[in-house]
């Protein structure tokens, strides 16, 4: 029921520049005098103004301008807060709707049961209905005769008046919404489910009213003055029941968004003026330093300044193992700090924050329309007027051709057609499934950009993996140190010392290994870097050179003593770096980008799903082939330049195959865009989220198979829903119209039609809700790569 239009909103506005209590009091007075504001509270400590206002009279923007006019700084409330308050409003509206529906349902049901008792004697009086429901009600008739024999003493007129008395409040109060909504829709030249219910029950009610008040007039014209109050009551009760179940189920379809929004803590502990104070999240500013203690939720994105901890990021990435965080590492708002304490600088808030971007992507996905929905859309646009037409035709056919009493049979059949038709099932079939599925997959760390991405993923035939960062860890690591005379630690130390300033990824691997072993590095002088070949310098009086075979030839070092070893290791996918000491070959260090431990399983799973796999890499063929062998990928394409990735995807598409490209989304964005499904995959929360149709928040390549599986399951549920919704209406409407009557004498009553309709839309939503239990098998036994 529509409530009074006095609505109130609340918003929190961050205010800056306040230095004393006089400032806050002044802003508070300004706000309180502002039109439409019913309450304001300005907190000096937290730097936030909380304002209660009438949204039809003012806006947060006006309030911000009012504060700025007083000479202080103010910012608009951030979008994630409006998302939060919208969800809260939606929840409140739904709770109110459900509460109201419960009352209406209870009253309608009570009236329906009473009406069944009162109708029992009437049914005996007019024994022409031989439908299944009447047969079902016969025992009740016997019971009523036994328990309330007085009912049979009453005249049919009195009984009908009692029924009328029961029906009026239900039609006028509990079912009122159907009539008012049908009427407003009608004024807009549109028609919906309410139109069908209103016309159906309205016709039955009006006829019964005439039969009650002017039965003699009808009888004189050869029409039996039968009443259908009981049917009207039961239809309204059952449709209300359907609405109630549907409202509850619909509330659950958006549960995932609600959980994501709920992850954010209410307050943050920030360092201001040397002390720690709790401030509401809305009052945070970029650059604030916040303190997070063990067991607390991290309030916003930022970088750790000091302290260290393990952080559980599973709510955003699906990664079950906590991640180690040290100074310089990024932490993400809404993740859970496990056991350490740390201080960090907040650098992203509001729409830029990781959580907001995830929520935004999921909301966008839920709003995007799946292509498969087009048919359902086209049908639901014409559905109600077509059903109205069928109902009229049904009336005419029964009237002209049906058995006596023709007018009564015609009325019942037409009403049954109106009541059984269920446009809701069709309208709910696709959106509910897409909402549940995208929400659920977000919880698993898989962001799917809506129905179209789901549809395309279902039909994937080829998955192309970019090697670096997806199949491999993306960080080269020292594999072996081979030495001739110098101890291996010393060789590594010398090599690392010259590599300190090279900035080359392979050099950084050498540096990282030296650091891991705790080696003290010397400063190198007379440094000479030959890009792509090697580096040369003076370390503690020795000339040290590190580079490939060509580089050694160039500086006159004989690389042949270790060439067999170097070739063998290269075939295994390792890159050998030769190290020369004072003009003689001293040893070699091999570096490789380790294959993620999950990669082989990820590829095997795709093969198990009959999907071809391709490995695409800019590496040389030896390394590429070694990685390809290690993970069991179907085909390897090596020596590919960045532009070549796009061309390779095109080539596979021209073979008529549906292709997914899996990459980190940073340097392969064109290939991701060219592919039918671009899958961006990062490590932890560090992902180019908007790059692909699908984003895997976790750096686990098994997520690819998981996402495709999810898409397949979702599409199956969508098809089931659509099939059910179509078949239900395609079979239900003709049967209700009496298509089976000539052959089998079978027809439905309006009450049975109402039950069927209520069940059909609830079935569709419940089927979609099954998707909430999707997936997560890979999550259960995940392991990180060996070298992290």
């Amino acid at each position: 029921m529509d409530t009074a239009a006095t609505s109130r909103d609340q918003c929190t506005i961050p205010v800056s520049g306040m230095t004393c209590a006089a400032c806050s009091a002044r802003i508070q007075r300004t706000l309180e005098r502002h039109a439409g504001v019913s309450g304001a509270n300005v907190n000096l400590m937290t730097g936030a103004a909380t304002v209660t206002y009438d949204p039809t009279a003012t806006t947060p923007g006006d309030l911000v301008s009012a504060i700025r006019a007083t000479g202080y700084g103010a910012e608009l409330p951030r979008p994630e807060q409006s998302a939060e308050s919208l969800v809260a409003l939606q929840d409140a509206a739904r709770a109110e709707e459900i509460g109201e529906l419960k009352w209406k349902l209870a009253v309608s049901l009570a009236a329906g049961v009473l009406a069944a008792v009162v109708s029992a004697p009437l049914m005996v009086a007019t024994e022409h209905e031989q439908d299944p429901l009447t047969a079902f009600m016969m025992p009740l008739t016997v019971l009523v005769r036994h328990l309330a024999p007085w009912a049979y003493e009453l005249s049919p007129l009195v009984l009908r008046l009692i029924l009328l008395g029961l029906t009026v409040p239900v039609v006028g109060w509990a079912g009122r919404q159907f009539y008012t909504r049908a009427w407003t829709a009608f004024r807009h030249h549109s028609a919906d489910m309410n139109t069908l219910i209103a016309v159906g029950t309205g016709a039955a009610f009006l006829y019964s009213l005439v039969a009650t008040l002017a039965g003699g007039w009808l009888r004189a014209r050869g029409v039996e003055p039968h009443v259908y109050y009981e049917s009207v009551l039961w239809i309204i009760a059952l449709v209300l029941l359907g609405n109630l179940l549907e409202a509850r189920a619909k509330g659950r379809t958006s549960g995932a968004i609600r959980r994501l929004i709920g992850l954010r803590p209410a307050t943050a502990r920030v360092v201001r003026d040397g002390g720690e104070i709790e401030v509401p999240l809305a009052a945070l500013r970029v650059g604030d330093e916040a303190v997070v203690r063990p067991g607390e939720t991290i309030p916003a994105d930022g970088v750790i300044l000091d302290g260290a901890s393990w952080v559980d990021e599973s709510m955003l990435t699906g990664e079950p193992l906590p991640v180690r965080k040290e100074p310089g590492h990024r932490v993400v708002g809404a993740t859970l700090n496990r056991n350490g304490a740390f201080r960090y600088r907040i650098d992203r808030l509001g729409a830029d924050s990781t959580l907001s971007r995830i929520i935004g992507l999921v909301q966008q996905a839920q709003g995007a329309r799946a292509p498969i929905q087009r048919l359902a859309d086209r049908i639901s646009a014409v559905f109600v007027p077509v059903v109205l037409s069928i109902a009229i035709a049904t009336f005419v056919l029964w009237f002209d051709l049906g058995p006596e009493p023709a007018s009564l049979n015609a009325l019942v059949a037409a009403v049954t057609v109106l009541i059984i038709a269920c446009p809701c099932a069709m309208g709910l079939a696709v959106p509910t499934a897409v909402m549940v599925s995208t929400g659920r997959s977000a919880e698993l760390g898989i962001l799917i950009r809506g129905g179209e991405a789901l549809e395309r993923s279902e039909g994937l035939q080829t998955v192309v993996f970019d090697k670096t960062g997806t199949i491999t860890a993306g960080r080269p690591v020292v594999q072996q140190v081979l030495t001739r005379e110098v101890p291996s630690a010393e060789l590594l130390r010398l090599a690392a010392s010259v590599e300190q300033l090279s900035g080359h990824p392979l050099g950084e691997a050498v540096l990282a290994e030296a650091e891991r072993q705790g080696l003290e590095l010397d400063t190198a002088s007379e440094l000479e870097v030959r890009t792509g070949r090697g580096v040369l310098g003076l370390v503690a009086g020795h000339r040290v050179a590190v580079g490939n075979r060509a580089f050694m030839d160039e500086i006159g070092v004989d690389g042949s003593p270790l060439s067999d070893e170097a070739d063998r290791l290269a075939v295994e996918g390792q890159t050998p770096l030769l190290v020369a000491l004072d003009g003689a070959l001293a040893g070699l260090v091999t570096v490789a980008d380790p294959v993620k431990v999950e990669s082989a399983e990820a590829v095997a799973r795709l093969h198990g799903m009959h999907i071809e796999t391709v490995l695409l890499t800019g590496d040389g063929s030896a390394t590429a082939a070694a990685v390809g062998r290690a993970v069991g990928v179907g085909r390897v394409v090596a020596d590919v330049l960045p532009e070549g990735k796009l061309a390779e995807i095109r080539r596979i598409q021209q073979e008529g195959r549906v292709v997914a490209m899996v990459g980190d989304g940073l340097n392969d964005a064109p290939a991701l865009a060219q592919a039918d499904v671009g899958i961006a995959m990062g490590t932890g929360t560090d992902v180019a989220m908007e790059a692909g149709a699908i984003t895997l928040m976790r750096g686990d390549p098994r997520g690819v198979a998981e996402a495709i599986l999810l898409a397949r399951r979702t599409m199956r549920v969508i098809r089931q829903n659509l099939f059910w919704a179509f078949v239900y209406n395609v079979i239900g409407i003709p049967v209700a119209a009496g298509a089976l009557y000539p052959a089998f004498g079978l027809r439905l009553t309006p009450t049975m039609a109402a039950a069927a309709m209520a069940i059909s839309s609830v079935t569709v939503v419940s089927n979609s809700l099954r998707l909430r239990r999707l997936g997560g098998r890979a999550v259960a036994h995940s392991e990180r790569t060996a070298h992290v």
Binding site: D2, Q90, H189, R369
Partner: protein, 132 residues
């Protein structure tokens, strides 16, 4: 056939014709969104069992701001979806909720309720400044 049956049949045919005319063909006058220059073109749409106006004409290439004023609490219209722009927004009852997006190309874009039953159309015409 009795005269009554003939009368009922004719009335039925007339009723079917009227239903289809009323719901499919009866004129819905488009409303042109206001706002000149390069700023957003805005239009207030009352949500009350339907959208009025249900057809809005705008200029392509400029931001469009649809202000949905929901005057009812029926669950049917609680969400508005603009599928071509990936928008699905909750419309709180008895409030004005703005929805903003930019149709870059001329064309007809639909906006519907969450279930696609209540619908309206946005007709984007090639503008003076916009792409043809």
């Amino acid at each position: 056939m009795t005269p009554l049956q003939i009368a009922v049949t004719l009335a039925g045919v007339a009723a079917i014709v009227w239903v289809n005319w009323y719901f499919f063909l009866a004129a819905q006058r488009p409303v042109v969104a206001s706002g000149a220059g390069t700023g957003p073109q805005s239009v207030r749409i009352v949500v009350d069992g339907g959208y009025s106006p249900s057809v809005v004409t705008v200029e392509a290439g400029r931001p469009v701001r649809l202000e949905f004023e929901r005057r009812e609490s029926s669950g049917c219209t609680e969400e508005v979806v603009v599928p071509d722009f990936g928008i699905r927004t909750f419309l709180p009852a008895h409030r004005i909720t703005p929805v903003q997006f930019t149709p870059t190309r001329p064309g007809t874009y639909e906006f519907t309720c969450g279930m696609g039953m209540v619908r309206g159309r946005l007709v984007a015409r090639a503008g003076k400044g916009g792409p043809a």
